[in-house]
Amino acid sequence: MTKEIRRIITEYGRLSVDITALPVDADLYQAGMTSHASIDVMLALEDHFDVEFPDGMLTRSAFESITAIEAALLKLRAEAAVR
């Protein structure tokens, strides 16, 4: 999953640094991701993983690092499995 997230951020995050060198807990906004770019990332994640982030999850901090994104996706999957 981390690999796929990295690929999506590379494509849509418009970072100012090389993402392959970025630790999973690095702050993506500090790495140059703008709010506009973060929305493209969210859309691409929803599309790729076939999920919908509910409004309560759509916060800046939920998408601030690869780890945070992975946690959000896992939470959504767990919730979907229960349903």
Binding site: G32, T34, S35, I39, T59
Partner: protein
């Protein structure tokens, strides 16, 4: 009556009195001469209103946020510029109070703000980023003496020449990205303001808001511990939009009152036949009601979300959309109501020296759509709408 309700009531009574006794009689001169509403701000100081929102343990009045919003409305009814100065100061105070995380320097600062009734101006916009507050050019730059320096080209600093301290957004450091911002509070004795432009505007003339190059040297402890994006989403943006809309509503309400007085005077002159403009006044009332409803629901939703532990909801995109929409709607509706009032009063409203003059109201509220350009906010909303679910 609980203690907090009693506190709010006493504060609002005092503000209402200041609005009538100081803001109203000076409003025309403040506007005409584009001068700072010194009498009103001095009276607010005497009532300790500049520290009204500061917690009691730090020497402040600890009134509720609703009370601050009502105070902006009351001042707006009498003098738009005075209300705007008060509102901007409070935006800075609320942002500090909600995000200081127990930092010593900021607690000490709030104590001195309360004791000395210090007035805070702001330099959040910047030459080169326009109205986009989410990016900065100027940066906090550590010096060899353990202090930090910065130099910021500020296009508009309201009451900069009259303020004690300055609330400034900057990049975290010389290498930081434009969006990696912090807030610093620079005291007047640490700051140099070099004027770069004048302030001869259509409205909001008494805010005295020319451009400056701001140069300051501050201690590292003067950087607010909470990163600016969080301060912005949870406090600065919603609080700005709520307090501004309250004062715009105040201005529009007074314009409506003047139109109503005009119609009543006409009705008295010719009893038996309702004046034809009476129907226009009724139309205007509907427009004012829309504005009032938008402003009060915006406030209620913010209070709800602020009351939740962690205030997480304020950081959601749905919440950003909501508060952005309050700004757009209120900033467009307020000048519409003022223009409608002018339509009712006719030439008596257009003239600057009648009891029914609404020119200042119209000019003051015309700043609302460009104080953070609505088109820019629409563009942000357009991208938020792509991802938010329930709006």
């Amino acid at each position: 009556m609980s203690v907090s309700v009693g506190r709010d009531q006493a504060f609002l009574d005092a503000v209402r009195h200041i609005a009538d006794a100081h803001a109203a009689p000076n409003a025309d001169q403040v506007d005409r001469e584009a001068r700072f509403p010194a009498e009103t701000i001095e009276a607010l100081r005497e009532e300790r209103a500049l520290s009204a929102f500061v917690p009691g343990e730090l020497g402040g009045g600890e009134v509720s946020f609703q009370a601050l919003a009502s105070a902006c409305f009351e001042l707006g009814r009498r003098c738009g510029a005075s209300a705007m100065v008060f509102a901007m100061h409070q935006i800075q105070v609320v942002s500090i109070v909600r995000h200081l995380q127990g930092a010593d320097w900021f607690e000490e600062y709030l104590r001195s703000l309360a004791a000395e009734q210090r007035l805070i101006a702001s330099a959040t916009s910047e030459v080169g980023t326009g109205g986009d507050m989410g990016r900065s050019v100027a940066a906090v730059t550590p010096g060899e003496d353990g202090m930090c320096a910065f130099e910021k080209q500020a296009p508009t600093v309201s009451y900069g020449a009259h303020a004690d301290d300055l609330f400034v957004t900057l990049r975290r450091g010389p290498q930081a990205e434009p969006s990696d911002q912090v807030v610093v509070l620079a005291r007047k004795d640490q700051t140099e303001l070099e004027p770069t432009s004048s302030w001869d505007t259509l409205g909001m003339r008494g805010t005295c808001s020319p451009g400056y190059v701001v140069r300051a040297s501050i201690a590292p402890g003067q950087v607010l511990p909470t990163p600016f994006p969080k301060v912005s989403a949870e406090s600065m943006v919603p609080v700005s939009h709520i307090l501004w809309s309250h004062l715009w509503l105040g201005i529009a309400t007074d314009a409506f009152e003047r139109a109503r007085a005009f119609v009543r005077a006409a009705a008295k002159r010719d009893p038996g036949t309702p004046p034809p403009v009476a129907t226009r006044l009724s139309h205007l009332m509907s427009e004012l009601s829309l504005l009032r409803a938008e402003v009060s629901s915006g406030l209620a939703e913010f209070l709800d979300a602020s009351g939740e532990p962690g205030r997480e909801r304020l950081s959601t995109m749905a919440s950003a959309l909501r508060v952005n929409n309050l700004k757009i709607a209120a900033s467009e509706q307020a000048p519409r109501v003022c223009q409608g009032a002018m339509g009712v009063c006719g030439i008596m409203g257009y003239k600057n020296d009648t009891p029914f003059s609404v020119g200042r109201h119209l000019r003051d509220t015309m700043s609302a759509p460009l104080m953070l350009a609505n088109e820019r906010i629409h563009q942000t909303n357009a991208s938020l709408l792509l991802i938010a679910k329930e709006v």
